[in-house]
Amino acid sequence: MFPTPVANASAPTRVAYKVALPISLVVWLLPLIGVMVTSIRPGSDLAMGNYFGVPSSFELGNYLTVFQNTPMGLFIMNSFKVTIPTVIGAVALSCLTGYALATYKFKTNLWLFFMFVAGNFVPFQILMVPVRDLTLKMGLYDTVTGLVLFHVAFQTGFCTLFMRNFIKALPSELIEAARVEGVSELRIFWFVVLPLMRPAIAALSVLIFTFIWNDFFWATVLVQGTHAMPVTGGIISLNGQWVAQWHLVSAGSVVAAMPPVIMFFLMQKHFIAGLTLGATKG
């Protein structure tokens, strides 16, 4: 193990390490802690210049205000409406594409794979004008559906890369054996491969959930009004509305950040497995 475990080090080093850990964490998360404290501060504290002291009272009312005076509830709802179908769509499509690219040999296989990989890295701006135009023409501009369709298509790139490499690492004997038995290709996929893909599906679902929830660019490009706006776009408009009302901005930010954070802590193992796929290869 590198570095040498502190357990083997001298007593002062061990103590120093245990002291350094929480201090470094507080420094690292300082901006975040500041915002969280601000979100429960009464507005009067800020007016009186009490920015960093102990809040004069715990004002959970800030959160209430955020939900009562703004369409925050609707924004959150929209985010779920965009995120969940995208996760299902992108993961489903990439199970199929990943399986095809991992188990069949045909001439264009590698090129199709590279198409997905390369497309996944393209800057969004090169897609912006045509995708917006296409969405307008389909009558889906300013709708949740229009946003979902694009996200599904784009995320299929990353998901295919992920799924293909995952299936490739599965023992190929399983599939070969099923083929010898004369099992149809569709059944092999459904009954042999798909059950083994559960960890990959879990990992991808959490990752895509976070990516899409946090998307801001496409929300502003493909949605205009409040009725279909996800929370990332929504909070921007609120930020304009609440000039200098940092206790409300903070509470709004905390609310907007919550779902992916909960998702991360619940599914941490899968999240990190997904994110670090390939980091240990070779």
Binding site: L25, G34, M115, F116, V129, F150, I236
Partner: protein, 325 residues
């Protein structure tokens, strides 16, 4: 849900497979023909939905953008072909150079996330009680939306009362309104961007460190390698896959920077914190005008820069594939 749905069906169907060989000879040849064709056809059926979606929404738009960049177009009316006039206009556009320069700055400074992530990973790669919670909390910034990160840092940098200003005053310096100062604004945004990016690199390296071969470390220790020497000659070479991914995601992150610029400064003051992605958006969609053609031309430049890195990445993947990793 799929777990429960799958199990009984698969066990219910398995007898059918073994029943296969008892069918008559005639249908057997037909079915083997079908099986042979099926194996050719099946990949295309599996690929069709994903490939079609990807072609329509990702691949075709790249071509369309290249084409639109040769036109003058407000997004609604008639397109007028103006050949490379948009690109020629770019050459004399000072705002374009500012954005390009800022993109280079992003690329270079964003790379700090890689060594910084490695350092934090080394710091946290211990087995003390509670270390897992520390690791997840250190990773925290990456999970939060960039929009929220932007808001957090706007607050952090706020003149008069921001935490950053207070820290400066505490150290006896004068507070600076980072986001309102042309000299510092881009650096200020990059620092905000580094926060989640370092967390990302850290998690890649933590996984990498977990898989470093203990034998090699022991062997190197016996040879007297310690500290930095050990890190440089023994550990870092073994972390190459993690480094590769960290570099790739950091480059992409730097070139994709849009959210932070948008939320923290809207490209200001006086356009000094614009990056290409934001400038493109401004030209094509925001209140500054609906110049789709000009915007597309900026996007093409950004795409060309990205393409250099994408190509390098694909070449390396191709090498891996050929070696059959």
């Amino acid at each position: 849900m799929s777990e429960q749905a799958l199990a009984p069906v698969s066990s219910g169907n398995s007898p059918k497979f073994s029943g296969g060989p008892t069918t008559s000879g005639a249908s057997k040849t037909r079915s083997s023909k079908w099986i042979a064709n099926q194996r050719k056809l099946a990949p295309w059926l599996f690929l069709a939905p994903g490939v079609v979606m990807f072609l329509v929404y990702v691949i075709a738009p790249i071509g369309q953008s290249l084409w639109i960049s040769l036109y003058e177009w407000d997004g609604i009316g008639v397109k007028t072909f103006i050949s490379i006039a948009n690109y020629i206009e770019l050459i004399d556009d000072e705002a374009f150079y500012t954005a390009l320069y800022n993109n280079v700055l992003w690329l270079v400074l964003y790379m700090l996330a890689v060594p910084a992530g490695l350092l934090i990973a080394i710091f946290l790669n211990q087995t003390v009680t509670g270390i897992r919670i520390y690791k997840s909390l250190f990773f925290f910034p990456f999970v939060i939306s960039q929009i929220v990160v932007g808001l957090i840092f706007s607050w952090f940098y706020a003149p008069n009362f921001g935490l950053f200003t207070k820290l400066l005053e505490f150290m006896g310096m004068e507070g600076i309104a980072i986001l309102a100062d042309e000299r510092f604004v881009t650096y200020g945004i990059i620092v905000a961007g580094l926060w989640p990016q370092i967390a990302y690199c850290m998690i890649l390296y933590l996984t990498g460190l977990n898989n470093v071969s203990p034998d090699q470390i022991e062997a190197a220790r016996l040879d007297g390698a310690k500290g930095w020497k050990m890190l440089w000659y023994v550990i870092i070479p073994q972390l190459r896959p993690a480094t590769f991914i960290a570099v790739v995601v950091t480059i992409i992150g730097a070139l994709r920077s849009f959210d932070l610029v948008s939320i923290m400064t809207s490209g200001g003051p006086y356009g000094s914190s614009r990056v290409l992605s934001y400038y493109m958006y401004e030209q094509a969609l925001s209140e500054y005008g609906f110049r789709m053609g000009y915007g597309a031309a900026i996007a093409v430049v950004l795409f060309a820069i990205m393409m250099v890195f994408i190509t390098l990445f694909i070449v390396r993947m191709l090498k891996d594939e050929r070696e059959g990793y």
